[in-house]
Subunit: 346 residues, 2 copies
Amino acid sequence: MRVTLADIARSLGVSESTVSRALNDNPRVSRQTRMRVKAAAEEMGYIRDEIAKCLRVRQTEVLGFITGGFTSSYPNDILQGVETTASRMGYSVIVGTSRADPQVERRLITAFLGRKVDGIVVSPVVSDENVDLYNWLLARGFPIIFVDRHLPEVKCSYITTDNYKGALLGVLHLIDQGYRRIVCLAGTEAHCFEVQERVRGYTDALDQHGLSYRYIQGDQSIDECPTHVFYGYHYTLNLLKSAEMPDAIFAINDEIALGALRACVEAGLRVPEDIGIIGFDNVMLDAYLPISLSSIHQPKSEMGIAAANWVISAAKGPHYDVIEQLLTPTLVVRESTLRKGLNQSR
Amino acid sequence: MRVTLADIARSLGVSESTVSRALNDNPRVSRQTRMRVKAAAEEMGYIRDEIAKCLRVRQTEVLGFITGGFTSSYPNDILQGVETTASRMGYSVIVGTSRADPQVERRLITAFLGRKVDGIVVSPVVSDENVDLYNWLLARGFPIIFVDRHLPEVKCSYITTDNYKGALLGVLHLIDQGYRRIVCLAGTEAHCFEVQERVRGYTDALDQHGLSYRYIQGDQSIDECPTHVFYGYHYTLNLLKSAEMPDAIFAINDEIALGALRACVEAGLRVPEDIGIIGFDNVMLDAYLPISLSSIHQPKSEMGIAAANWVISAAKGPHYDVIEQLLTPTLVVRESTLRKGLNQSR
DNA sequence: CTGAAAGCGCTAACAG
DNA sequence: CTGTTAGCGCTTTCAG
């Protein structure tokens, strides 16, 4: 907070540069003075001023992380991965929430640039409003990577799950369990590429089995739904009142699935006997719900870890490769879809 | 990324300081040149180098936030509050997870100091290992505040919930519902002051009604329990096998409560008829569980907001007041404890 | 192996 | 109202 290189130098009667070198383990300083300097630094409670260092070295060793918000478990799992690896590599991470607003996202990114972050990991807002900004960053070779979702209009590195495959897996499982009238709750961001992929998986699975019933609940009324859980709850209640009631629900994420589950229970339906429910993400709590929730597992923290690693090496290297990585999802079967008994389920 | 004050100055044929002043809305510059400068800056894509600025001004406008981890919903709600207010005040927040390890916590704090954060919001690890560090910071007048929990050995500002009152409320409610053999699942950090307060609320409630049955499950075996949910699940299964089976569970947080709920359901018990369960925190999902969970509401994001506000004003002001703030918890009754019907419940 | 000096980009005193 | 100058704390040539 107070003590600087100059202080140490003075107290030891050596020059500032020697102190700097010693502290950085520069071989051009004698072992003996290095020891002396380090001891003195330790003793005086010296903490290197990274700000000053950065001004010279042009590296802050800080990463930016931007996501929609920290209210649901999924982005936090990614953040946990990012933070852990960053920390292990001597980096810090500075966070921002875009609240799904492109303007806010833009502000955050420029704020981060002003703070001279070495790179950014972002789960982008689905909008074309910042495409120019992203392209500008890319053109300058700034290390940036999308996680969880990406913008097809931007040729930027990204790491997501193979959402198509995950959805296919999930819906095929429902069919395998004898469900026939399967509805898809696409959530409040149905226009997102990754969500579309899941919807595509849904329809393809139905097609493979020649099932004609299909119902995709999109995001017409985003305003009415403050949270995903409420979305699932609300629209499921509606669906259950409709003439052609579904016998299974494929929810685009676990929060929506939870809301749907709640609605079914309230309506007096038995899960999985009367209606099956499967989610997406496989968040930790799924396994502990009173009716445990089947889901498609996404490697969330792995996503964060991989993203952090990529950004850090991109920041270090003189140049970087653009990667487009799809992690493999897996089907996790639990009570909410298992009506045939485990032995028959696959 | 590239363009500096000097560039703008050169292109406009004015001095660097004029540009700086204009950009900072210093009244000592003519309206006209201010406009010209701002236009040029905008045009050239200037982004102020906060690093360089900080080196002069000694203010980064960055806050540090440290918590155990981002895996459970509770700390994330606090972070959301911190981030939102910070952002609104033009601050950024840099995060770190201590993973309940005092050493890591110490490293994070010094890293943050090196990065010259203006203040730190921390949910401290329960340990006396860093007491000296905290006292050292306090002695230097560094803005730091504890959230969610505090260390009684350190005279540092803190914001928590009135945990005693919350627990009292919850357990009295259980008694009111006719439960008599109430167990307390204290979790893996029973030695934490705030947890102790909840335990005190538990015992006092029992005392008030002359109930002799009490059982406090502490943290003997932290190693076996990777997560809180598992803790709740695991120990509840044990309890249900014991001779003097409880008829209600007071869990120290909602994750433990969820684990307990799951265990009860698996054991074939009806909730709330056979056994009542109440948690603590009132996380968003509680209301949507298939059996919705009663809980003690903690104002989580308010906690984050208040903490961020305090730190920011402490960082700005020449001096600050130490505050010890207890937010008021409220009882939220849901299905998991309501066996008498709503009308009789209070 | 060590020291002197320059400079990163910005702001703030001090002149004019 | 505007320009000149110095300096924040550090690293890094360049000399010795």
